[in-house]
Subunit: 349 residues, 2 copies
């Protein structure tokens, strides 16, 4: 599981910066006709368009956002793209281009960076994204990945965080808490491995939640599906820091409150069984887990019939007036105030 399979090792300093960019980007053919010029000049050029341009950026730091002792580099490359394009989908837009900048210490070989880019390439192929630029550099410690994603949407389709209205329904795609529990399982196995490196873990009972952690999929299908169903959400955000934290963002920017029902939170059976094993409260995990990269959105109650019974969607509650605050209604019908327990990149956890 934690074995280094790289037999060959070419140092990056002997390869040189310019050759490295050319080398890494040679297998990224341009797919969109909007990409007039990709990698290879001072800047990339995107064609003019009647659509609006959507731009988002994220920085991933080794030891803060990822741990290479159980995150294979190819998965990391894939996930780094997902994290970014998820923000584009959360605008109800389609993702079209990315730039990727990396800084790596001399601990990393050329072959390691090729693995990272193989994951980025797979993500680009699967999601129809053009790699249009970036930068490579050395770092004094570890690996840093900075990705900017660019997307398009018709002006009238774009969904912000600030449009939720009282009585709107709160909807999530997919299920919650899996990525966080996958992380817990991997952390436990890492500790077991450190004690006994010969121990080969059986992770088959955790395959879904580990995949949610190591190879999340951004919900490209949701903006497409919403369009088919003729539903324009009133507010939307992706769930990167945890449902509770994202609800706070929507509530703050829309100047509303909300009620979310514990019994409605969508949980995979593996999430429930693993919560029992780890003695974790599955509701807490669903509310605060983070990294699921599902979409959280609100819709007018008049659109309910359009999404009712759709297996991709779960209605988990509704929007209230601002002065009512943010509450979870428990199975015992008690109202519990929600806390914005978003993941804080500056905390010492």
């Amino acid at each position: 599981m934690f074995e280094d399979k790289n037999q060959q090792r070419t140092s990056l300093s002997e390869f040189g910066e310019f050759r490295l960019i050319e080398h890494l980007t040679q297998y990224f053919p341009v797919k969109h006709k909007t990409t007039t010029k990709g990698v290879g000049d001072d800047a990339a050029v995107l064609s003019s368009s009647e659509d609006e341009t959507v731009i988002t950026t994220d920085l991933l730091v080794e030891g803060v956002h990822f741990d290479l002792s159980y995150m294979p580099l190819k998965h990391l490359g894939y996930k780094a793209v997902m994290v970014n394009i998820s923000d584009v989908y959360a605008m109800n837009a389609s993702a079209e281009q990315i730039t990727v900048s990396i800084a790596v210490s001399n601990r990393f070989s050329l072959e390691a960076i090729e693995e990272l880019y193989a994951g980025i390439q797979l993500a680009c192929e699967t999601y129809g994204i053009d790699l249009i630029g970036g930068d490579t550099s050395s770092s004094t410690k570890g690996m840093i990945i900075s990705i900017t994603a660019i997307g398009k949407a018709a002006k009238e389709s774009i969904v912000y965080r600030d449009g939720a209205k009282p009585t709107d329904l709160i909807v999530v795609s997919g299920d919650l808490g899996g990525a966080y529990l996958g992380f817990q399982v991997l952390e436990r196995e890492k500790q077991v491995f450190e004690v006994n490196p010969n121990n080969q873990p059986d992770l088959s009972n955790y395959s879904y939640i580990i995949e949610r952690q190591l190879k999340p999929e951004a919900r490209k299908d949701i903006p497409e599906l919403l369009k088919e169903l003729d539903v324009k959400p009133t507010a939307m955000i992706d769930i990167s820091d945890g449902l509770s934290s994202e609800l706070f963002h929507i509530a703050k920017q829309s100047k509303v409150g909300c009620k979310v029902y514990e019994e409605k939170l969508p949980l995979d059976p593996q999430v429930i069984s693993t919560c029992e094993e780890f003695q974790l409260d599955s509701t807490m995990v669903a509310l605060s887990g983070g990294e699921d990269y599902e979409l959280l959105f609100t819709i007018s109650i008049s659109d309910y019939d359009k999404i009712k019974g759709n297996p991709h969607f779960t209605v988990i509650g509704h929007i209230t007036e601002e002065n009512q605050g943010l509450h979870l209604v428990s199975r015992a019908n008690q109202e519990i105030a929600l806390k914005a327990q978003g993941w804080n990149a500056f905390s010492n956890e």
Copy 2:
């Protein structure tokens, strides 16, 4: 010179990530009507346009690209913006927006990050740039800054690296080598300071070259001036890695050679006197120095009369057939083959 003037110190972890972004971006009013939505949602939104969109990104790593022992944080913020928008101007485009992501270790206080953003803000004000997004994170070591710059240009105005033709004239804006020599002076003073911290250096003889290193200005004026003069360069690039390295980029992509004349290289008197003091060859410094952020471009010989005598421009040579290679013609009229001595971020220098 190297004194830490920060009296107050607020830790970033007590401040929290979401509040930090809000806090740092509150003094960045939106200036462009194309910026439909800036900081504060999953992504920024730029309005549709008849112009093409130009996008470029750079990563700056402490200990690799900058040394905080003589680079004040405010200057660093300013320079980080210049490095990026310079690439936009090198496309003959106008820069309009940036995203800024930073990762910082707990060595940095809130007040230090505010200084950095004060420099970013000054750059945005001076150059008319909107800050539209970004990310803040902790790092395990040092500071990393990732900036993406976005610009606009009419399709027919954009200048790539691949359009230079034999007989085209090679032109540079401003003068060369200053930033590199400023770096040499600062490195020397740093060593003096380490031996005797009470020694207060007199840097008045080096004010121009130190400013070229610590507070470079991107050539926003050049695309504007070229438009006024009705000159569209056939190829253009900004000089970040050194004249010689940039000539190689243009030559390779345009499939041409070039001749550059030693006696034509534009040098400031302070560059010449400091080269004498440091016993450096001023031609080598001009060719390989880097970080000047001037623009290097080629024009059709028929446009010569339009730029002749303009104090912003120096014609330094001309484009030749590819098989003639890249040469410097010395003052003694000898042809010396140029080397692409670009700065390599992976070398151990």
